[in-house]
């Protein structure tokens, strides 16, 4: 099994989730994060003092999938999260040794 982690723009979350669930992928865990990268931050103004805020609000999706499903999942996320602008984010793929469903104790594919 693999863990697919995607860091995307917050306003794309709904699109990505819809696309995934259309493809039968329901489960995921979402975290609000701050991103630093090439995308520029914005300027804020407080009593005449301007300063640059260089972190950007992003959301991180974590999706555990079976090995078969990796490619489709990545494809879907890539498409749905793309807005053709810097800062659209990244997808990371890593190995998962095991997954366990707490309620039933099921493991592996069954636990997803």
């Amino acid at each position: 099994m693999k863990l697919i982690t995607a860091v995307i723009k917050p306003f794309k979350l709904d699109d990505v989730r819809d696309a995934l669930s259309t493809a039968g992928i329901q489960g995921m865990t979402v975290t609000e994060v701050k991103g630093f990268g090439r995308q520029k931050g914005h300027t804020e103004l407080y009593r005449g003092a301007e300063y640059v805020v260089d972190f950007l609000p992003k959301v991180k999706l974590e999706i555990a999938v079976d090995d078969d499903a990796v490619d489709t999942t990545v494809e879907i996320v890539k498409e749905a999260a793309n807005s053709d602008s810097i800062g659209d984010g990244k997808i990371f793929i890593s190995d998962l040794n095991e997954v366990i469903r707490i309620r039933t104790g099921e493991t592996g594919k069954d636990a997803l």
Binding site: L45, Y46, G48
Partner: protein, 425 residues
């Protein structure tokens, strides 16, 4: 002028004053005004300031404003009122006296057409807000115990004497200083004390390299709005009656607030390309602070000019103090209140002129003469307050120390001084 003289007369002739009898309408307005001015400090100022600091210090600022409200109230009752408004005998030019624990303020005592109890309360709310304003100068780094010691000493060594000079029959009032509702007594005093404290304490860790953005501007705007509303009590209440003077004071106050706000907004928009809500509310405070000493003497046109001047002058003062001098007067008390108070006290001498829509000068006084009186008042307040604040800080340092440790400053005063956190969401 008339105002101070009137007070003076009432205080000297309590029995005669009583004979005048109660005006229930004036009483109603002053009871209301007292509530409004207390409302300015808690929650108004507390929220205004609380929103501007980082979230780890939010409670500390609320705590300071709240505690100072309590402490000042009792100090006022114990001796403050007597020293400010009582008769100091031979020393009366400089300080009043008597009336410890309000011993002479009986249920029947009158102050003009209102009960003296109400006058005591109304004036108390002015005494309360002044040290609370200073909090903005040393926010986010001063020890809570030091704040208490400092504020108690400062009340008796700065606020009370200046209040006596200006409103209690002291030398500035005899000189003919115009200060309708507290340009010198409240705003210059608070502004000067704040910047002196800021310099003595030193900068907050990280200032000015790290940005320290306000943690909750919705809170700040809420507080600012409350200040505006409450200021009607501050200025229109200072007429001590629900009469035409009160009406014009309210109108002037309101116009100046609106003009100060828009002036600040306009500058920001031109210089930075966008107007900000923190900018506009800061302009509002500038407009209100500046009109305060003049509010009972000027007409709508004067108020408009004063408000616009306030927005512009206080904007550039803030830039200068913070960006050029790099003084960490955390919440800009001096450039807004101090500078506003100075400006307004001086402009009062201009816009009181009948030609400019004001009530006109006293007999034998012209604009130049009045201006020179106002300058004396302004300088006297700045010097006295500056020097005494320094001394008070020295004493406080020797008693409790002034600043929290660097570690405590990093983890925030809420936890390190009060074992609490503002938010557990």
């Amino acid at each position: 002028m008339f105002f101070q003289r009137l007070i003076l007369i009432f205080l000297l002739l309590p029995s005669v004053a009583f004979a005048e009898g109660l005006d229930s309408g004036d009483g109603a307005w002053l009871l209301t005004s007292t509530a409004l001015v207390l409302f300015m400090t808690i929650p108004g100022l507390a929220l205004f300031y609380g929103g501007l600091v980082r979230s780890k210090n939010a409670l500390s600022v609320l705590m300071q404003c709240f505690t100072l409200t309590c402490v000042t109230s009792l100090l006022w009752v114990f001796a403050g009122y007597g020293l400010a408004f009582g008769n100091g005998g031979a020393w009366n030019d400089y300080i009043g006296g008597g009336n410890v624990m309000l011993s002479e303020v009986t249920r029947e005592a009158m102050s003009g057409t209102i009960p003296e109890t109400v006058f005591v309360m109304f004036q108390m709310t002015f005494a309360i807000i002044t040290p609370a304003l200073i909090v903005g100068g040393f926010a986010e780094r001063m020890k809570f115990s030091a704040i208490l010691v400092f504020s108690c000493l400062w009340m008796f060594l700065v606020y009370v004497p200046v209040c006596h000079w200006v409103w209690g029959g002291g030398w500035l009032s005899q000189l003919g200083l115009l200060d309708f509702a507290g340009g010198t007594v409240v705003h210059i005093n608070a502004g000067v004390a704040a910047i002196v404290a800021a310099v003595v304490l030193g900068k907050r860790k990280g200032f000015p390299e790290s940005p320290m953005p306000p943690h909750n501007l919705t809170m700040t705007v809420t507080g600012a709005s409350m200040l505006w509303v409450g200021w009607f009590g501050f200025n229109a209440g200072s007429a001590l009656a629900a009469n035409n003077d009160a009406g014009m004071a309210m109108l002037a106050t309101h116009i100046s607030a609106a003009a100060g706000s828009l002036a600040w907004m306009a500058i920001e928009w031109m210089k930075h390309g966008k107007p900000s809500v923190l900018g506009i509310v800061t302009g509002m405070v500038a407009g209100l602070g500046t009109i305060t000493p003049a509010s009972g003497y000027v007409g709508p046109v004067g108020a408009l000019c004063i408000g616009i001047a306030a927005g512009i002058v206080c904007y550039y003062s803030t830039q200068y103090i913070k960006r050029s001098l790099r003084i960490d007067d955390s919440l800009d008390v001096f450039p807004v209140h101090g500078v506003g108070g100075i400006l307004g006290t001086i402009l009062a001498a201009v816009f009181i002129s009948e030609q400019l829509g004001g009530v006109g000068y006293d007999e034998g006084v012209d604009m130049l003469k009045q201006l020179s009186i106002q300058l004396v008042g302004v300088l006297a307040t700045i010097i006295w307050c500056g020097v005494m604040t320094l001394i008070v800080l020295k004493i406080t340092r020797s008693l409790t120390g002034l600043r929290v440790s660097e570690e405590k400053e990093t983890s925030g005063l809420d936890l390190s001084e009060h074992d609490e956190r503002g938010y557990n969401m």
